[in-house]
């Protein structure tokens, strides 16, 4: 009597693993050679695995639902001695297969981590984690063409190949990446130059920006919005508002309101990258960027979707005031799920924001500019504004972002003194 193993067979070319859907035998069953013992599902075929021996099933190692690599152990069979001759012939052919496999250059991985200069350069330029790239070269070497294929796939948007499994070690990578940069700055200041030590808020900004830009694969999108009606509305009410409420009704409040409303309809943009999963946030807390001298704060308007335009204007006013007087609390800064950045206040008409880590996107509201626009084949003077979205391409694709921006545009263009209430 001898104990033999039955392993997951190769069910078709290029099939590397199979999932056991059903065992057709149980422990103690007598099987003949070539009897089916289990049904296996692969990404190509569903097939029955035949027994390699005649004998009695002794132990079932792999359970139903388990996914096994080709060659992995499925079960043990006790084989009677009388069949040994058959077995030996079989096992010798098995051996031939094995040795063949070990010689097969496609299986060998000794060159997997030998990177050529071209491969290293491309992977760094395109932020590709080579651990995840299949090598088609000798000994499993990743060739320049392999990397170029990954880049091409990434550009088509099918494959967010960026460092998905690196997320858990984000802090480490960020630290690693900032450190050499600091070391590299070995430049001497000349007489008359001013040296500003990097610390505190500046240091935090620097670290956050490096983390955002190195970890998040940014993509960008801009839409143009006609806010002529909105401008009329605001101009009509702003003086009374200031008098009654004691603070200004800015355009920015309208934009924040529109974004909060659109986010409710497109929760994908209100999410966070968490390495192996994406978390869509229920609450809509909008971060807004507030600059003070050489410092940048990103306080949060909590539950922006539940606020009126007046409520938002008030929050903006309060947060900005706190920021300028240095009274922002940690609580004021926490929990943002999406950022709206008022770059228009500097006169900018186009910019590409850096995403506020770990959020999924940031929207830049640019300057409102009066421009000639063609409406019904006639020139008209309209108040136009660009909205520029930066998106984390791991989480978001162009389609959903395009729809989101279209919705924001629709909301803003629909704002006029008949439809929109400030209170």
């Amino acid at each position: 009597m001898a104990m033999e193993k039955i392993n997951m067979p190769q069910l078709g070319e290029s099939v590397t693993e199979g999932t056991i859907s059903t065992w057709l035998v149980k422990v103690g069953d007598q099987v003949n050679k070539y009897d089916p013992i289990a049904e296996v599902m692969t990404d190509k075929v569903n097939a029955e695995v035949p027994s390699s021996y005649s004998g009695v099933i002794q132990e079932i190692v792999a359970q139903e639902g388990d996914t096994l690599e080709v060659g992995a152990l499925m079960c043990y069979v006790e084989v009677a001695d009388s069949t040994n001759t058959q077995d030996s012939s079989h096992s010798s052919s098995d051996k031939v297969n094995e040795t063949h496999e070990s010689v097969d250059p496609a299986q060998e991985q000794s060159m997997k981590k030998r990177y050529s200069p071209a491969v290293l350069r491309l992977s760094q330029e395109h932020d590709i984690n080579l651990e995840h790239v299949e090598g088609s070269g000798r000994g499993g070497r990743i060739t320049r063409k392999d990397v170029e294929k990954v880049i091409a796939a990434g550009e088509r948007g099918h494959n967010a190949f960026s460092q998905s499994e690196k997320a858990p070690e984000t802090n480490k990578t960020a630290a690693k990446q900032t450190a050499p940069q600091h070391e590299r700055v070995q430049q001497e200041a000349q007489a008359g130059d001013i040296e500003i030590p990097v610390k505190g808020v500046r240091k935090m900004i620097a670290d956050n920006m490096v983390q955002s830009k190195t970890e998040i694969p940014h993509a960008w999108m801009t839409v143009e919005v006609d806010v002529t009606d909105l401008a009329k509305l605001r101009n009509k009410v702003k003086d009374d508002f200031k008098q009654n409420e004691g603070y200004s009704l800015t355009y920015f409040a309208f934009f924040v309101k529109a974004v909060a409303q659109a986010l409710k309809e497109y929760p994908a943009l209100n999410s966070t990258w968490a390495g192996d999963r994406i978390i869509q946030k229920k609450d809509i807390h909008l971060s807004i960027a507030v600059a003070k001298d050489d410092e940048l704060f990103v306080p949060v308007i909590k539950h922006a979707d539940e606020k009126t335009i007046k409520g938002i204007a008030r929050s903006i006013h309060d947060l900005a005031l706190k920021a300028r007087t240095g009274k922002l609390t940690a609580d004021d800064m926490q929990g943002g799920t999406f950022t709206v950045n008022n770059t228009g206040s500097f006169g900018s008409i186009s910019s590409m924001g850096v995403i506020n880590h770990p959020q999924a996107a940031i929207l830049q509201v640019e300057s409102i500019v009066k421009r000639p626009v063609i409406i019904n084949d006639m020139f008209a003077a309209r108040d136009m504004v660009n909205l520029s979205l930066s998106l984390d391409h791991r989480i978001l694709d162009g389609l959903v972002c395009g729809r989101f921006l279209a919705r924001v545009k629709q909301i803003l263009e629909g704002m006029n003194d008949e439809t929109t209430s400030i209170y």
Partner: protein
Amino acid sequence: MPVMSYIQAVTTALKEEMQRDENVFILGEDVGKKGGVFRATDGLYDEFGDARVLDTPLAESAIAGVGIGAAMYGKRPVAEMQFADFIMPAVNQIISEAARIRYRSNNDWTCPITIRAPYGGGVHGALYHSQSVEAVFANQPGLKIVMPSTPYDVKGLLKAAIRDNDPVLFFEHKRAYRLLKGDVPEEDYVLPIGKADVKREGTDITVITYGLCVNFALQAAEKLAEEGIDAHILDLRTIYPLDQEAIIEAAKKTGKVLLVTEDNKEGSIIGEVAAIISEHCLFDLDAPIQRLAGPDIPAMPYAPTMEKFFMINPDKVEKAMRDLAEF
């Protein structure tokens, strides 16, 4: 368009240039009445007479020296070395005089001579009728060295060499003479000296070579294409000075470069090509630069088996190309 052999293209270019410019004349051993040992000057003696197609004594130094003097005096001589192997007695004339005169005379004198010489093996010529000698001349500023690979290139480049105002060495592969045939336009055309030529576009590996080996590489590429290996082939055409831009571009295209020459490996032209690539293309390289060349032994054995061992052939090129593609 007429189909011509490589040597017919040589004859045609000579004939047309002699018709075009009466300063063009030919001198060499047996080039007159006999029409050359390879028949490269066949019919020219009859057409242009003994004043323009000169049979010389067996003295290569004199052939080169007379040619250089005539060139400096305003003629356009085309001197023939019967075999490139025989050029050695003329090396002093070529390097010390022809290559230097423009520089030495501060541009007062020029030397528009063309020196033709059949080189290369594979014709059972043994040692003194088979060698590749281009590397001897390939670090002499003032000289240009042209080594064409097709009948079309022969005609265009030989005309360019004759019209060039500086000395040009024009090496013709003697095995290619009757082996290679191709379309050659009847009209007058010249191809630029100093420019390499892409003979085949591809994306997997780059082969850079010149002369007869271009044909071998093209044959191998066709076979490999059936296996899905797509080779890019650059023909240097002029091997001194080298077309750096084209070399860099071709190397960057695939990052896997195979250099082929029939010459002995160490110190050959392709070593310089490899240096250019390593200077300019490090971050585009996906494999070590590979060289396929003759062994470092005095060329070329007479025994057919040994000649085969020495010579580059399509099978050897194919093997080296596949090896590089699989890397």
